[in-house]
């Protein structure tokens, strides 16, 4: 069971309090109705599914119930960091060398 730090509660809590909510930083268009088929396909269906660092959304379902973002390594399942929804994608990650 993973330990996940909720950026709102500012506490590390066990995984069973959380629900994964898919890839992060996929913005919904302000002009949704006007999106082309290609753009809609990218928005709704295409996901990066990387081996390594993934940016994803989690919800502290059985805690504060807030959605937030997390950076996780899909190989080790290690959480690199978590941050609040709406904050920009971090440009530098702690402890991840290139």
């Amino acid at each position: 069971m993973l330990l996940i730090r909720c950026p709102y509660c500012e506490e590390e809590r066990p995984e069973l309090e959380f629900r994964n909510a898919g890839e992060a930083h996929i913005a919904r268009s302000a002009n949704m109705a006007g999106e082309s088929d290609d753009d809609f396909e990218k928005f709704f269906f295409i996901r990066s599914n990387p081996k390594g660092i993934i940016y994803e959304r989690w919800r502290h379902m059985h805690g504060c119930a807030r959605f937030f973002n997390a950076v996780r390594d899909t190989v080790t399942d290690r959480f690199v960091m978590t941050y609040k929804a709406g904050e920009p994608k971090p440009s530098k990650l702690p402890g991840v060398g290139k």
């Binding site: 993973l2 629900r19 109705a33 088929d37």
Partner: protein, 998 residues
């Protein structure tokens, strides 16, 4: 002290112990308290304890620990407590223990299944794959049951488990897994700093290999005595938890370790207040792995005869339990450690017929000591075969490069091919093992988690080096976990034994040019020949060899066999061992009972049961309930003599003739509140909301972004900034999650609060021509006239003196109301309404009648008439989509080319040509029933009922281009013939809708 034949007076650690009687296959024996079942059997000279899995070969006891592949027995306490596949080497003896051998018929010494041994060419590697692939249908009906019956590993209990199990979560700074010299030293170092320590070991007593290592001395004491004193000291410390009989079976992410503690399996009469097993889920800042090493057997012809066992095990039986495993033993080895076993046995008065050492000219103190004791020692020789059937009777020795044979009579053979570091938990932690080419063993290489391996599992040889390494690692783990001070002293090793090296793979006489049965994996009956055959047939990766031969796939997970199997495959492939690779170790390390995993979560505690406020009333009325998600819902209310059909027909007719009461409390309810509530509703539902007046309701449809229907429900606007939203019963949690997701992440600028109010309000639907007459006398402060309270409106007021949100709405097509009252008053208000209803002849109706009534009106149920691929247009609900809206969730997905294409499946009604025939839900629909199979299926039935109100059957169906087919005849082929149907509109009753105000 028992007078068992092979118990050696003065040997072992239980000389003062009380006798414990037990039985094996009905025969009564005496053992002593402290014995395992295996040591007690051996004390009585019993080696034959089971039959093998595939060939039904007689098998004995191989080991003295958790790695045991052969000595699996059934332990019976009573009719319900029959545990199969218990390792006799792990089961502690108690007075009255009853054990049975497995996998034999009619008896252990005469087993009919042993014919498999003679027919063994049939059962070689890959046999199942090749033989039973065809014909496919025969697999399920013929082959599988026969194979399962013949090749069983014990019999499952046939009654519910009467025992109870417990479960604990624990946190600690340093978790030490393994309580031998290494684990104890590490735990001492960590504990002395004051941090929280847990020390666990799978055995009843701590000490690990100190149980048999007679030459070990620590801090001036015998090694085992030191271990007991050290553990007593640890147990007395407040910051330490010591867990004997506790196996760490799984190492998961972030130092989360699963352990199972055997609480009462060793007790004669465990009281019912005692759990059988306890699951520990431990989160540790640092983990110290001190899991030791497992001895390997020698791979030679007929190496599975009862009486042939690991040398270290024989030594444990002697030095710990005081049992000699034979009177005239042979030793077959490729390393030094077996010499120590021979020496200890010789000193105890057992004749050692000969030591056969595969090595050419080994030297060392143990070899000198063996010679000095007068034991015959042979170098450069191999045991090429064992004699005897139910018990080994001889070993045949030959120079390893060939030459004259010599057969030596023995009643036991002690063997050692060397020791394999137990890297199972390290590997489970996702660490990567590295192959040490010099010592030919896999040891921990790259770590993935905050853990460290010490002692034999780390490839560290010698007690002194082990204690040094473990003590330093324990202290460091404590420091890393936050310890400030250390005030202990390292244990001092005064004397120790040292044995390393050994050999991997098949010994001479069992090489590629032979056809002998030299077992690699005893539990799955895999021989050296099988492994070679797998390579011969094209398996290249060790993972393929494993699956083809099943080597290492039994419940012992190949603890003794993996390295031999790997070496044989590598030799055949002509590749170095690391290139062929080690198979991945997975949890559990040893089998774990379902009971321990499930713990209290069974029976009524398996899943929460949700009951409405009105449930007790329905129960008292004799309602039959159905499960809807976690809810118990009243399905129908049978009167005396009524079956379901009759009850549902009566309930349906009553609603349309007078009125019916229905418990709708399970409907999901969400309050959407705030200055931007209407804007939020506009975005989450297809319908327009801004202009809906307070006090009015609207049927809303929620889509996912892909344009498919996700949920539906009636929404009442209580005030400009307050909506009372209802959802489907099953959809409530996901709709709430969906709303929260959009509110928090896509539309955070909207000032809205969402509150789940499902549990707060009980909902009583009163439907039918008399519904207003039933409700009106109980209501205060609400004008119930059609002008003041038209269809699809909501008012707040009081009913029976308690607050109500009174909806005028209908899911039956009749004049109808849904009375929301605080859940605490649900039953009282229901009873008051019921009393009023009785004056008018109203009936209570359940979910089945509700389904029929709504289908008569063509009202859909999301999840039954839709399946996640149905758009509003497909469902005939275009009218509910706001045409002028510029955005809502699903607006773009709904416009995708495929979703607006012609010929999509659309919801329509179906009437069978024979009105008495009721279609089956899920049945497929075709245009031409005479076409060849497989027919082209153009749709399926989603809902189907007998409608007493219509006097015929009715159905809803999703049919390709359905609305253009109205009036056409289609066909539903069924096993008993083809059913003719006519495509119709979706409304079967009161098409004009006049009854809503009737």
């Amino acid at each position: 002290m028992s007078g068992a034949s092979h118990r050696i007076s003065g040997a072992g650690r239980f000389s003062q112990a009380k006798t414990a009687r037990f039985s094996f296959d009905g025969q009564s024996y005496a053992g002593i308290e402290g014995d395992t079942l295996a040591s007690a059997l051996l004390a009585n000279g019993v080696h034959l304890v089971g039959r093998s899995f595939k060939y039904h070969r007689p098998r004995g006891i191989l080991s003295a620990g958790a790695e045991e592949p052969n000595a699996l027995v059934e332990i019976r306490r009573d009719a319900a407590r029959k545990t199969p596949n218990v390792r006799a080497t792990v089961q502690e003896l108690y007075d009255g223990l009853e054990a049975q051998s497995q996998n034999r018929w009619p008896s252990l010494s005469f087993d009919v299944g042993a014919v498999n041994d003679i027919a063994s060419p049939m059962f070689s590697a890959g046999f199942y794959y090749k033989t039973f692939m065809w014909p496919k249908a025969a697999w399920k009906s013929l082959y599988e049951p026969k194979i399962r019956a013949a090749a069983g590993l014990g019999v499952s209990p046939d009654q519910p488990d009467p025992d109870h199990y417990s479960s604990r979560y624990a946190h600690c700074d340093v978790l030490v897994l393994g309580g031998g010299a290494a684990g104890i030293a590490a735990a001492l170092a960590a504990a002395e700093t004051g941090v929280r320590v847990i020390l666990a070991d799978e055995q009843a007593e701590f000490g690990g290999s100190l149980r048999f290592e007679s030459g070990a001395k620590i801090d001036g004491q015998d090694g085992f005595a030191w271990a007991q004193a050290a553990v007593a000291k640890l147990t007395a410390m407040d910051n330490v938890r010591v867990l004997p009989r506790t196996t760490a079976f799984g190492y998961y992410a972030q130092n989360f370790v699963g352990l199972v503690e055997r609480v009462s399996d060793h007790l004669k009469a465990p009281g019912h207040d005692l759990a059988r097993e306890r699951l520990w889920q431990v989160r540790a800042k640092r983990v110290v792995l001190a899991s030791g090493a497992i001895e390997r057997h020698m791979v030679f012809a007929d190496n599975d005869r009862p009486g042939i066992m690991l040398a270290g095990a024989a030594r444990t039986y002697l030095n710990h339990y005081g049992v000699a495993v034979g009177r005239n033993v042979g030793v077959y080895t490729a390393n030094d450690s077996a010499y120590a076993a021979a020496i200890d046995l010789k000193k105890a008065g057992v004749n050692v017929a000969a030591i056969v050492d595969l090595r050419d000219n080994p030297t060392g103190p143990v070899i000198d000591e063996a010679r000095a004791l007068g034991i015959e020692v042979n170098f450069g020789r191999a045991v090429i075969r064992a004699g005897g059937k139910l018990r080994v009777s001889s070993m045949t020795v030959q120079p390893k490069n060939g030459g004259g044979e010599r057969t030596i009579p023995v009643d036991a053979i002690l063997m050692s091919a060397g020791w394999t570091p137990s890297v199972h938990l390290f590997s489970q932690s996702r660490g990567k093992v590295a192959f040490n080419d010099e010592t030919k063993r896999f040891v921990p290489g790259t770590y993935a988690q905050d853990c460290v391996s010490v002692g034999a599992c780390n490839g560290t040889d010698g007690l002194s080096a082990t204690v040094d390494e473990a003590y330093a690692a324990g202290a460091k783990a404590a420091r890393d976990a936050g310890a400030k001070t250390a005030k202990g002293t390292k244990p001092k090793v005064d004397a120790s034994e040292s044995w390393s090296r050994g050999m991997l793979g098949a010994a001479p006489g069992a090489g590629p040019d032979t056809t002998v049965k030299a077992f690699v994996d005893f539990q799955n009956d895999v021989t050296a020949k099988d492994i070679r055959q797998a390579v011969h047939e094209g398996m290249r990766s060790i993972e393929h060899v494993k699956r083809f031969t099943t080597n290492g796939m039994a419940t012992d997970q190949g603890k003794t066999s993996n390295m031999h199997g790997l070496a044989i495959a590598a030799e055949m492939l002509g590749k170095p061992i690391p290139e062929v690779g080690l198979t991945t170790f997975r949890a559990p390390y040893t089998p774990v009972t379902f009971g321990a995993i499930v713990s209290h979560a069974r029976g009524p505690l398996f899943d929460p049961t949700r009951k409405t406020a009105i449930h007790p009333w329905a129960e008292a009325q004799g309602a039959v309930f159905e499960d809807v998600g976690q809810w118990k819902r009243a399905w129908y209310f049978p009167k005396a003599g009524e079956d379901m059909h009759a009850a549902v027909d009566r309930e349906c007719v009553a609603v349309r003739k007078t009125a019916g009461l229905f418990d709708a409390s399970t409907l999901g309810k969400i309050e959407v509140v705030g200055p931007d509530a209407a804007k939020f509703m506009e975005l989450l539902y297809t319908n327009p909301w801004e202009k809906l007046e307070p006090g009015r309701c609207r049927y809303g449809i929620m889509l996912r972004e892909d344009g498919f229907i996700y949920d539906d429900g009636v929404v009442g606007r209580l005030a400009p900034d307050r909506f009372h939203v209802t959802t489907t019963t099953g959809g409530a949690p996901r709709v709430m999650n969906h709303m929260e997701d959009y509110l928090q992440t896509e539309f955070p600028h909207l000032n809205v609060w969402l509150t789940s109010i499902t549990e707060q309000w009980a909902v009583i639907a009163v439907q039918g021509p008399k519904s207003r007459d039933i409700i009106a006398p109980l209501v205060e402060g609400i004008d119930m006239s059609d002008e003041a309270l038209p269809h699809m409106s909501v008012r707040e007021g009081k009913i029976c003196g308690v607050p109500t949100r009174l909806f005028r709405m209908s899911f039956t097509g009749e004049r109808g109301f849904e009375v929301n009252v605080p859940a605490d008053y649900g039953q009282a208000v229901w009873e008051a309404l019921w009393a009023e209803g009785q004056k008018h002849g109203a009936a209570a109706y359940g979910t089945e009648a509700m389904h029929v009534l709504r289908a008569e009106k063509g009202y859909i149920i999301v999840g039954q008439d839709t399946d996640g691929t149905v758009t509003p247009n497909d469902a005939g609900l275009d009218w509910a989509v706001g045409k002028k809206k510029t955005d809502f969730v699903g607006i773009r997905g709904m416009a995708r080319p495929d979703l607006v294409a012609k010929g999509r499946k659309q919801l329509v009604g179906l009437k069978t040509k024979d009105p008495k025939v009721v279609l089956e839900e899920g049945a497929q629909i075709v245009e031409d029933p005479k076409q060849a199979i497989p027919m082209k299926m153009i749709g399926h039935v989603t809902s189907s009922y007998w409608s007493e109100n219509c006097g015929r059957s009715i159905a809803l169906a999703l049919v390709a281009g359905g609305r253009d087919r109205i009036g056409e005849t289609l066909y539903v082929p069924m096993p008993n013939g083809v059913i003719e149907v006519e495509v119709t509109g979706m409304v079967f009753f009161d098409e004009t809708g006049g009854r809503l105000n009737g």
